[in-house]
């Protein structure tokens, strides 16, 4: 987010800890990331028809993902970080990206960077493009 000018309202920010309910391992967050990523088209648009998602997602999960994405559509700029997932809305663009462990460990992708929605959009597009080019997860610098 950009720094507000004097007198301007501040952005709303909430940091919290995500903890598993009993018996759930880290695979739950990975599944959430997968569901969200699948629901957000690579071009940043939400598909016309809801993505049915992988067969193992139940309707409660699919609906909750749809509502999350809808809620972000109502924002100008927003970042939701639910590691390994980051969902970003900036201007008219919406991106979702699952960070690989290598990307997550990269100093260039520290939380300080994750606060800027616009920068994140650029970064995610770049990561996706690089991944598509099968260059593998290298050491990326923010532009």
């Amino acid at each position: 987010m950009s720094t507000p000018a004097p007198g301007e309202p501040h952005e709303w920010k909430h940091a919290f800890t995500i903890v598993p309910l009993d018996g759930i391992g880290p695979e739950g967050l990975a599944a959430l990331a997968e569901a969200v990523e699948a629901r957000v088209a690579p071009n940043g648009r939400t598909p016309d028809r809801p993505h049915p998602g992988p067969a193992e997602f139940d309707h409660v999960q699919v609906d909750s993902v749809a509502r999350l994405i809808d809620s972000l559509h109502g924002c100008t700029d927003a970042v939701v970080s639910l590691p390994p997932l980051v969902v970003v809305k900036s201007g008219g663009r919406l991106r979702a990206h699952r960070f690989t462990p290598e990307e997550a460990a990269d100093p260039a992708l520290t939380p300080a960077v994750l606060h800027s929605a616009a920068d994140l959009i650029v970064l995610i597009d770049r990561l996706v493009a690089e991944r598509a080019l099968k260059e593998g997860p290298g050491r990326h610098r923010r532009p």
């Binding site: 987010m1 507000p4 301007e8 309202p9 501040h10 952005e11 709303w12 920010k13 909430h14 940091a15 919290f16 800890t17 995500i18 903890v19 598993p20 309910l21 009993d22 018996g23 759930i24 391992g25 880290p26 739950g28 967050l29 599944a31 959430l32 569901a35 969200v36 409660v60 999960q61 609906d63 909750s64 993902v65 509502r67 999350l68 809808d70 809620s71 972000l72 109502g74 924002c75 100008t76 700029d77 927003a78 970042v79 939701v80 970080s81 639910l82 590691p83 460990a105 100093p107 520290t110 939380p111 300080a112 994750l114 606060h115 929605a117």
Partner: protein, 980 residues
């Protein structure tokens, strides 16, 4: 006495009364360094030779070293006596204040204690004082391989102390103050990862995160260049945490591998009560005192030998109490029963298990083998000053595994055998305990009968003392008898005593000093009928201690009669009462009791009494099993029979205590061929099975059920074979042998089919469910529980039906089939509402709570768990009540109340520990060991630009997380906020 001031943490320096002493470099200085390194301990001459010369020995190395020691003594002048010759060894005596190394260790120990007490500031100061003893590299001005080895060890230790001091400084928030020092030390020890970790923590906490990351990168390069290695896992984790900008507090945890099993520092005190009227034995006590003094800083060992009844135990216990204050780390007592006429004596492995538990080792961490137990025992007591009394040892082999080897410990062994093996091989001081002197024997008797009476009948007293052969046990018995009969003439007693050998012809030629049976006979003869019967039956009882109920069963009479009889035996010292409601007998008396039984009681009556006591064990075990596990409804062993009185057990605590005390006897009855009739053997094994499962005694369970299987096969009892195979399968599950368990359950299933009994089929299906559940396979476990329920219902057996129904509910819930799970637990609650089965009622509540918990309704879950716990506590099902508390902790943790959750887990842990519930204990300790949640926790963040409805985003995030099995935990308020 001259004062020494010796320093080796730097150049070697020796001062005597302030005056410097020049110790010649080379051999002499090396010997001094080695003696200082092992200050106050004995250093064998051979060790000195090896250290000084290595393999390149001179012509007469002994003399060379002895000469060098002579030079050293000369140099020490007035303090020459400090170097003692101990056989072919030397010892340098030096007080802690006289040697910098010992002062350093004192401060180090103090720092550790203060740190544990949370007094960080003082701990850091103590650690600084420890480090201040160093004036440079250890033995900086000396050379040679031996000195080099000592130097390396001490310098490494110095570095470890420095790290700990810096760690304490970081704990105190002195981050910026220590950065420069850390930089210097980390640069000096370039590849030492712990120092870099401390530096990274200090930099990050000082707001210099970039430099912290640089320090990591630099170390990474250094490691790659120097060693071709990567940073270790802990350092990588620290690096990642700094990258993620975790708060400094998270990083405060020292980067150290987790300790394996922490053994709480318990100081056991298991000495029995000392005899109040102990008389004489001053010489022997002084000899034992001397042995203790001589063994200072070694593992001391003394053996008291003497004939039965001469008072070895009394002396050992008396002396142990006398010197107990010198063993602040504990005093252990074990009766090895080496001369028990009815058993082979205590198994060293079992004694070690008892010792380890007394020293704080959790039951589930006891190794199985004798060697492993010996190793653990020696490790646990390695630095403890502990006194061990091993009473009634059979031979050296029984004693050796139990001997502590750590300096400062002391072992006192008593035995009828001289234990020459210990004398020769282990350097034991032997104290021979002979018959009492005339004067001591007289004093012992007079203390019991009173001086006035003794003076009035001086001659008879002398005759009694002579008739008792000055044997303390005999004098004690007769003194007790005479005291109980104050009007009885002592002259008549003396007459009678002198005639007893005629009464008991077997003793015609007996020498009283070597065979005290005539004395026993005197006490025995005057017992009342019931007490005499009880005395004889002691010789038939299978265990070392007897309760009134067990004695009543042996006698075939009432418990009140038995209690009165035992009371009479205790009053005349023919039996002891080690604790309330339990009676024991000296092994000599027991042997005599056995003789009397054989000679005076007809075989058929002996057999009937033996059968009754076995029935006592079977029915008591069943009653205890029901109280502990509610098991045992499956097979009705019939009524206890006439004259059999099962142990009256009030609650689960009493049941547990009874099982714990009688376990060796019960186990022996099951596995010893012919101890119990075949028809009873497998039932007894079954009553013991759930206790063994609870304690995870897989090897014992396997042995007991194998014996039970053989018994059931001999009688052709198919049901017994099914149960035995099933529990052998359970033993395999406990041992992690899945294939073995499957094979046994298949065999059980085949036999269950052949038996045509639905309960047997249900039992094997339930076993299969347990096997699947153990592997975390909820779906097959659920299917087997369903099958089991069907069979149990057909058999009309309630308890096992409830068990299967609860299993269905639990596995359904785990699989997310909440409707099915709820239906099961509702059914269970309906079925048991009006029953007297608190375990089933409580389980229904637990299940309903579990469903609410999984679905995020924490308040509802907590209400169910609380009600379940109340019901289970009221019903005495304490381990299951502890499970309710554990689940309460889970629900509280899920609701974000971490501190309350940990309290619940600790409460559950205490009960699991008390009842020895091995798996449950491991599970709850895993929860307590670390923030389990945090292991899988992630930091989430929502940032929304001004103007947008952030509430909607926030709600959607929470909903999505919940749908995928997560929840949001807010940062816990600080203490100040909590106070407000």
């Amino acid at each position: 006495m001259p004062t020494l001031d010796v320093r080796l943490l730097g150049p070697l320096e020796v001062r005597i009364d302030g005056a410097e002493v020049a110790v010649p470099r080379g051999k002499t200085a090396t010997i001094l360094a080695i003696l200082l390194d092992d200050a106050n301990s004995v250093v064998p001459l051979d060790s000195l030779i090896r250290a000084v010369y290595g393999i390149d020995l001179p012509k007469d190395p002994d003399t060379q070293i002895q000469n060098a020691v002579g030079v050293l003594r000369t140099k020490l002048g007035a303090a020459r006596e400090r170097i003692e010759t101990v056989g072919r060894a030397y010892r340098l005596r030096i007080a802690p204040g006289e040697l910098d190394l010992l002062r350093c260790k004192q401060n180090e120990d103090r720092a550790r204690s203060l740190r544990l007490e949370g007094r960080i500031e003082e701990a850091a100061a103590a650690m600084r004082a420890a480090l201040a003893e160093w004036r440079g590299p250890a033995l900086a001005d000396q050379a040679g391989a031996a000195v080099e080895s000592i130097r390396r060890r001490y310098d490494e230790h110095r570095l470890a102390l420095l790290e700990r001091r810096l760690d304490l400084d970081l704990e105190l928030g002195r981050h910026s103050e220590v950065v420069d020092e850390l930089r210097q030390v980390a640069a000096a020890y370039g590849t030492r990862q712990r120092l870099t970790a401390l530096l990274m923590r200090a930099l990050h906490a000082s707001g210099r995160t970039a430099e912290a990351l640089e320090a990591y990168a630099a170390l990474k390069d250094r490691l790659a260049d120097a060693l071709g290695a990567d940073p270790d896992q802990e350092l990588v984790a620290l690096h990642t945490a700094i990258l993620r900008d975790r708060p400094a507090a998270v990083l405060e945890r020292p980067v150290e591998p987790p300790a394996p099993v922490r053994v709480p520092w318990l100081a056991p005190a298991t000495l029995p009560r000392a005899i109040t009227r102990f008389t004489g034995r001053e010489t022997e006590i002084r000899l034992l005192d001397d042995a203790l003094e001589a063994s200072e800083d070694e593992a001391g060992l003394a053996v008291v030998t003497g004939m039965g009844g001469v008072g070895k135990t009394a002396l050992a216990v008396r002396w142990a109490h006398r010197v107990a204050h010198r063993f602040p780390d504990g005093q252990l007592y074990f009766n090895l029963r080496g001369f028990d006429p009815l058993s082979d004596g205590a198994d060293p492995a079992a004694v070690l298990a008892e010792a380890l538990v007394a020293l704080g080792v959790p039951v589930q961490h006891l190794p199985a083998g004798l060697d492993q137990r010996v190793s653990l025992y020696r490790t646990v007591i390695a630095r403890r000053r502990i006194l061990v009394v091993l009473d009634n040892a059979r031979d050296a082999a029984q004693v050796r595994p139990l001997l502590p080897v750590a300096p400062g410990s002391f072992t006192l062994v008593t035995s009828r055998d001289r234990l020459s093996g210990l004398d020769a091989g282990d350097g034991a001081d032997v104290v021979a305990l002979n018959l009492m002197s005339e004067a001591d024997a007289w004093a012992l008797l007079v203390r019991r009968i009173g001086r006035t009476r003794a003076m009035a009948e001086e001659e008879p007293v002398r005759r009694i003392v002579a008739a008792c052969g000055r044997l303390p046990l005999a004098l004690t018995l007769l003194g007790a008898w005479a005291a109980r009969h104050p009007d009885f003439s002592l002259a008549s007693l003396a007459d009678r005593l002198e005639q007893t050998t005629n009464v008991f012809k077997v003793l015609a030629a007996a020498d009283l000093a070597s065979d005290p049976r005539s004395v026993f006979a005197c006490s025995y003869q005057v017992l009342g009928t019931r007490a005499a019967q009880a005395f004889r039956l002691f010789g038939l009882h299978p265990g070392p201690e007897v309760t009134p109920a067990a004695m009543a069963s042996l006698m075939g009479g009432s418990v009140a009669e038995a209690e009165a009889a035992l009371g009479e035996l205790a009053e005349v010292h023919l039996a002891e009462q080690p604790r309330e409601g339990r009676y024991a007998m000296h092994d000599l008396l027991r042997a005599y009791a056995k003789e009397r039984l054989t000679e005076e009681v007809a075989p058929e009556r002996r057999t009937a009494a033996a059968d009754r006591v076995v029935a006592y064990y079977i029915h008591s075990a069943r009653a205890a099993d029901r109280l502990l596990t509610l098991n045992g409804e499956g097979i009705d062993p019939g009524g206890p029979g006439d004259g059999v009185h099962p142990e009256p057990l009030a609650d689960a605590h009493a049941a547990l205590a009874w099982f714990e005390t009688e376990y060796p006897v019960l186990f022996d009855l099951v596995v010893r061929p012919g101890a119990v009739a075949d028809a009873a053997a497998w039932r007894l094994a079954w009553s013991l099975a759930e206790y063994m499962v609870m304690r995870a005694l897989s090897a014992d369970l396997h042995a007991a059920q194998t014996a039970a299987l053989a018994a059931a096969e001999r009688t052709g009892d198919l049901l017994g074979q099914v149960v035995a195979h099933g529990y052998i399968g359970a033993a395999a599950i406990l041992a992690g042998d899945k294939e073995g368990a499957e094979r046994r359950l298949e065999e059980a299933d085949r036999l269950a089919d052949a038996s045509g009994q639905p309960w047997a089929k249900g039992f094997t299906e339930y076993g299969r469910a347990a096997l699947a559940a153990k592997s975390g396979e909820d779906a097959p476990a659920l299917a087997h529980c369903r099958n089991a329920l069907e069979h149990f219902r057909r058999s009309g057996e309630r308890f096992w039906s409830y068990r299967a129904l609860a299993g269905i509910g639990w596995h359904s819930a785990a699989l997310g089939e909440f409707a099915e799970a709820r239906r099961c637990f509702d059914d269970l609650a309906d079925a048991v509402r009006d029953s007297d089965n608190p375990l089933a009622i409580g389980n229904a509540r637990l299940g309903l709570g579990f469903i609410d918990h999984l679905q995020g309704r924490h308040d509802a879950a907590l209400a169910h768990y609380a009600e379940a716990e109340r019901i289970l506590v009221a019903g005495g099902n304490l381990p299951t009540a502890a499970f309710a508390r554990e689940l309460t902790g889970d629900a509280r943790m899920a609701a974000g109340a971490a501190a309350a959750a940990r309290n619940d887990w600790r409460a559950a842990e205490a009960v699991y520990s008390e009842f020895g519930c091995v798996f449950e204990l491991a599970r709850v300790r895993a929860r307590l060991a670390g923030p389990v949640e945090d292991a899988a926790a992630e930091d989430g963040l929502i940032v929304v630009a001004p103007g947008a409805a952030h509430e909607r985003v926030e709600a959607a995030v929470r909903e999505a997380l919940h749908a995928f099995g997560y929840r949001v935990r807010e940062a816990e308020p600080s203490n100040d906020e909590a106070v407000r």
